[in-house]
């Protein structure tokens, strides 16, 4: 089957800044692919190049077997695009907005059906200006689905949403994917990527630094376990660095998070060391590493600034 997206050697500069720096990507048909990375990593520039909205300085892009230069109209009919920070006309109602977007496509889905799918029927006649953040975001995705696309682009679809709205949107995207369609989404929420994506690529400084299924990426870590604990008094980094079997160390909310290759080796060593130093253990838990830990291991930085 023709891959949904193929791009090679993508580059885009804004003045001296290299927003995209030699990026290669292949997304198979029917796959949900996630571009992960912090703000400013080049995710939005990359997705807008793939969407045909920004011209790359170098590299080639093939979408659904077609190129933007020669088949723009056909591609526009077959894609659904939801942009970051774009606002729909506030004076129109939900139903009117969907009728408008539906009118742009030769083939597509019935606006009433779209409203039902996105749980917007109750807001049918409400003006866009009166919707909550979650409702607006669902409407934006509904607009992207108006042409019943084969490939859906979502640029940070759940940024700024409350957990419940996020969950609701995830269900909708998962349902769309179930129908065998392809999705490319950008996000800086690891949980979103783990829930929705078949494969993910970690983007930093305009290039892909790792890609694979979430499980592969996690398994690829030298230390796939995380030990989380707190003590009284607190212990220093220097102290922990001398304990055998402990890898990456970081602190969050007064607790230490330590990466370890083997729990059977690291936990007893840690407990013995703490005991020897006279530090009293307040809490201790372990979990499997997440994509968040993958990102930190790859870049040495937290994914989100906040």
């Amino acid at each position: 089957m023709t891959p949904a997206i193929v791009c090679r050697g993508l580059e885009k500069h804004y003045g001296d800044v290299k927003a995209v720096d030699g990026l290669d990507l292949e997304v198979a048909a029917g796959e949900c692919f996630g571009l992960l990375g912090p703000n400013g990593a080049g995710k939005t520039t990359t997705i807008e190049i793939l969407e045909g909205l920004t011209a790359p300085d170098a590299g080639e892009v093939v979408i659904l077997g077609r190129r933007w230069g020669s088949h723009e109209r056909e591609l526009r009919e077959r894609l659904g695009i939801s942009l970051q920070e774009s606002r729909l006309t506030e004076k129109l109602t939900v139903a009117e907005t969907l009728v408008l977007f539906r009118s742009f496509y030769l083939r597509g889905r019935d606006p009433e059906q779209l409203m039902a799918d996105m749980s917007l029927e109750e807001k049918r006649d409400a003006r866009v200006g009166k919707l909550s953040g979650g409702q607006r975001q669902r409407l934006a995705v509904a607009c992207a689905l108006a042409g019943d696309p084969e490939l859906l682009f979502l640029d940070e679809p759940t940024t700024g949403l409350d957990p419940q709205s996020r969950l609701q949107l995830w269900e909708r995207i998962a349902a769309y994917k179930q129908a065998g369609r392809s999705v490319l989404l950008t996000t800086h929420y690891m949980e979103e990527a783990e829930r929705l994506c078949d494969r993910v690529a970690v983007v930093d400084h305009g290039r892909i630094i790792a890609q694979g299924t979430p499980a592969e990426l996690i398994a690829g870590l030298k230390a796939p376990h995380i030990i989380e604990f707190s003590t009284e008094p607190r212990v220093e980094d220097d102290f922990l660095s001398r304990i055998p079997g402990i890898g990456e160390r970081r602190q969050r909310d007064g607790r230490w998070l330590l990466a370890a290759a083997s729990l059977a080796q690291a936990v007893p060593a840690l407990l013995a060391a703490l005991d020897g130093a006279g530090a009293k253990l307040l809490s201790l838990s372990t979990h499997r590493a997440t994509l968040e830990d993958v990102f930190i291991a790859l870049t040495g930085r937290e994914l989100r600034d906040e």
């Binding site: 969407e51 045909g52 909205l53 109209r73 526009r76 009919e77 894609l79 695009i81 942009l83 920070e85 774009s86 606002r87 729909l88 006309t89 004076k91 129109l92 009117e96 009728v99 408008l100 977007f101 539906r102 009118s103 742009f104 496509y105 030769l106 083939r107 597509g108 019935d110 606006p111 003006r127 607009c143 108006a146 042409g147």
Partner: protein, 348 residues
């Protein structure tokens, strides 16, 4: 598919809905020009001249003089107890002329010859006094007052307001809507769909056309009903001029909004385009009053052409050949503005 509507029709309808749901916009388009015509129409309406205030110095004949002057209607007499007080009133402009009658010297008129109302007062006062004292006219005369509709200020003004409004609706209405859509990235979202770009721009124009038509009808109807402004030429020709004017200013609106990224930038450009036309294009007074050297420039402005054509048809009842030049100017502006706007339009 059956659930698909025509994109151009849908875009136009949604743009109309959006506009109707903006009460401020409705005010500026419909109520404002009518209010302006109303205020100016009343300020410059035809009415008999106000009586000129004059003074009468106290004396034996003062009461008789005051009565005679009061009867004339052209002057409004008031009494002053002394010559000094009367002259003081004259100096400060409270009265235009002071009448003094002294035994032996007869009547004395104190007035400033450089003031036109004082000279009129001199004629009216002398006429009233002499008639009341028995002067007859050797040859009888009567006044036949001419009151031609179509030559009043309101007749001149109304076509100007029509032109002004077509310009404002075209440039503001289209310009701000587009810059706003670009700013909120609504434009970008739409060009990410298969929507035809020409459909979007056409819909902006078409939705405006509906308002252009309503606007022209409202303003014309108001002028005819409230001030009996004449429409001597054909309505079809008037409609043709309006359509061309709307196309022209719609095109200029697109051009002004073609690249602006902020409302401030767009606003500055709009003022740059519109202020010269407010001043030079004969909205409130004839553009012929500007120096001859400036006339080629002024006559080439689209609003001048529009106003001249509207006045020629409404007030003079001219036919198509008489306004062909104006129509060509409007058409040329429309074409050039459209072509350039489409060429340089910034969609994101």
């Amino acid at each position: 598919m059956s659930d698909r509507r025509h994109p151009l029709a849908t875009l136009t309808k949604m743009r109309l809905l959006e506009f109707v749901r903006e009460p401020e916009a409705l005010f500026w388009v419909f109520a404002f020009p009518v209010l302006m015509a109303l205020v100016l129409g009343f300020a410059f309406r035809d009415r008999p001249p106000d009586p000129v205030p004059v003074g009468v110095v106290s004396g034996p004949s003062a009461a008789e003089l005051t009565q005679a002057l009061g009867r004339s209607g052209a002057v409004k007499p008031s009494a002053y107890p002394s010559l000094a007080e009367g002259l003081e009133a004259l100096r400060t402009g409270k009265i235009a002329l002071l009448v003094e009658e002294t035994a032996g010297l007869g009547l004395t008129y104190h007035f400033d010859r450089t003031r036109p109302d004082a000279r009129i007062a001199r004629l009216e006062v002398d006429d009233a006094v002499q008639r009341s004292r028995g002067r007859g006219d050797p040859s009888p005369a009567r006044d036949a007052l001419v009151h031609e509709k179509g030559s009043r200020y309101i007749d001149f003004l109304l076509p100007g307001i029509l032109g002004l409004n077509l310009m404002g609706t075209g440039i503001w209405g289209i310009g701000f809507a587009i810059v706003n859509a670009r700013l909120k990235k609504t434009l970008k979202l739409m060009v990410a769909t298969p929507m035809r770009k020409s459909d979007y721009l056409l819909a902006q124009m078409l939705s405006r056309f509906v308002f252009f038509v309503l606007e022209v009808i409202v303003i014309l109807a108001f002028g005819v009903a409230a001030f009996q402004v004449p429409v001597r030429g054909s309505f079809a020709l008037l409609a043709l001029i309006t359509v061309l004017g709307a196309l022209c200013f719609g095109g200029i609106g697109l051009l002004v909004a073609a690249r602006a990224r902020t409302l401030e930038a767009a606003n500055g450009l709009m003022n740059l385009v519109m202020v010269p036309m407010w001043l030079f294009s004969g909205v409130f007074f004839s553009s012929e009053r500007f120096p001859k050297a400036a006339q080629p420039f002024i006559q080439a402005l689209p609003l001048t052409a529009l106003n001249n054509a509207l006045r020629a048809v409404m007030l003079e009842g001219r036919a198509l050949p008489a306004i062909a030049v104006e129509l060509v100017i409007l058409g040329a502006w429309a074409l050039v503005a459209f072509a350039v706007a489409l060429k340089i339009f910034r969609w994101q």
